[in-house]
Symmetry: C2
């Protein structure tokens, strides 16, 4: 059984080969740039871990796992265009370093590159892999569509929000894990359970992200605190606050969201205070705990020796308890 670090090294080595680079290089340079600083490589690591629950020959999963990572980066590339984002992981976004057209077209090329990596799976799994991949890819598009629509929608419910982050974020985590298990020959009820497990992880991850944006420690979290509050982002926290706050606080929150001129630190302080009074941090942690339990229950359904699941158990704890 491989350690997470060994799996990460294996992914790094394959990514460093840059097997996707072809002429015209100008089309692929932005993809390379995007892939260079990819952080934790969470999705391909999870795919390899899931494969490793059942099998040890990583060569059978490596390329398609890279395909998932490239697909993830393609979605980020186009999201950055749509958000007109300046920075991604502390570096200029592709459309700022080059321009919008480069980001659109290189994004398109990245999506097709992802499909080229995905098609490397073995014959018995190809149809099922492609089918799940297409469904997942479309779910992510739908999630992005809801996310953009929520920007101008004032009555987003908790249920709608969870559905949106499920589509936009969770299915790719679930899909990565299912993918690894599927092509290792796992039976359907087990890769279904692993998919659910991964989706719960993804939801936990996003809810923690929302939480840390307000309650995190800048040094540990690595992002400025309160960014979501300043741009009135419809996060789980804001939606819960709109639901739970007292009438007076609700009006105050609404007022802060309408103001054009304000001191940023003051807005963050005031909105955080409203969140605190409404019991929002407790509500988020409760929701996270709910998905922690759901993810454990899903993992229990996977019938491999318990010692094989140890890293997955650790990941539940790490995400449930993360600070960065």
């Amino acid at each position: 059984m491989y350690t997470i670090q060994e799996l990460r090294d294996c992914i790094k080595a394959e990514l460093d080969r840059q097997a996707y680079m072809e002429e015209p290089y100008s089309l692929f340079e932005p993809i390379k740039y995007m892939m260079e600083d990819g952080g934790k490589r969470l999705r391909p690591v999870l795919a390899l871990m899931a494969y490793n629950l059942y099998g040890d020959d990583l060569s059978k999963v490596l390329k398609s796992a890279i395909g998932i990572e490239i697909f993830h980066n393609y979605t980020l590339l186009h999201d950055d265009v749509m958000d007109n984002a300046e920075l991604r992981r502390g570096r200029l976004t592709v459309q700022k370093k080059w321009n919008n057209n480069v980001a659109i077209l290189s994004g398109d090329a990245a999506a097709i590159t992802a499909y080229k990596y995905i098609e490397t799976v073995e014959d018995p799994y190809l149809r099922q892999v492609i089918n799940y991949f297409n469904t997942m890819a479309m779910d992510i598009c739908k999630g992005q569509q809801y996310d953009m629509e929520f920007e101008t929608q004032d009555d987003v419910t908790e249920e709608e929000y969870i559905h949106m982050i499920y589509l936009k974020t969770a299915v790719l985590i679930g899909g990565s894990i299912r993918h690894g298990a599927l092509i290792a020959g796992a039976p359907k009820h087990e890769h279904d359970a692993l998919y659910d497990f991964g989706c719960h992880l993804g939801l936990m991850f996003q809810l923690q992200d929302d939480y840390l944006d307000v309650y995190g420690d800048t040094a540990e979290f690595g992002k400025k605190i309160g960014g979501d509050i300043l741009c009135n982002k419809k996060t789980y926290l804001l939606i819960k606050a709109q639901e739970l706050a007292s009438g007076e606080d609700k009006a105050l929150l609404h007022d802060w969201m309408q103001r054009k001129d304000y001191d940023p630190a003051e807005k963050i302080r005031a909105v955080t205070e409203i969140y605190n009074c409404a019991g929002v941090p407790e509500a988020v942690q409760e929701k996270i705990e709910y998905y922690v339990e759901k993810s454990r229950a899903a993992l229990d359904k996977v019938e491999v020796p318990e010692e094989r699941k140890v890293y997955f158990r650790e990941i539940i704890d790490a995400i449930g308890d993360r600070k960065k």
Copy 2:
């Protein structure tokens, strides 16, 4: 054997079902809008015609042929964003009717929709179909990249230009035809020949397009004449003129391309005159004739009864001789 009109009706009926429409409809409405007025449906018709060289059960090719048409529309959707185009087939482009973000994301959804249609092919062909499709999709991206780069490149050679239109336009025509033949069970040397045949058709089609933009009849061609000249588009005509014109005319052509203030009709008249003196129209027709011969030779390699090929022969003549 089906007539072209029967095949077109069959495609129309499937497109009218709009089986791709799902929630959130806002994501798919622009795809529906784009697909509504699709003109001749050349690519899926060619796929069905190629299938019909070998088989008659169109239900086996229809969905994936629609996938090709959707993919074609996806490329147009994103191209229109990159070109900031106002109109497409006489209607507002998606980014003008909605906005850029809608066009980017609905384009992405269209690409994934295309893949969902493509995956419907039968088991024995799935890997080969996906592999050819991915290669073709990437070729189209590369073609678009070269096309954009040529806009600011003054020394585009004839060879580079042909390579660009081969990637951007021809491989999708070739790929559509190969696809139909492949999933009808055609042997490799025959679907290879049909691919070459289709690529030659595609090159002819694009060269005729360049030609008609200058020498067409507005009423018949349906577009304003001289548009390419006004925007200094690097067409086959311009590249040949730069190669063939006398020193004096070459300087004059260069001068026209630099001018900012001019009477459009005068520029079109002057540049057309330079083309005429340099023998450009003859050079284009010669090149088209060259691909007419190549396409005939490729079609000759396809070992089906000659009466089955009759529509393909007619298409060669129609494109070689088209006025619109």
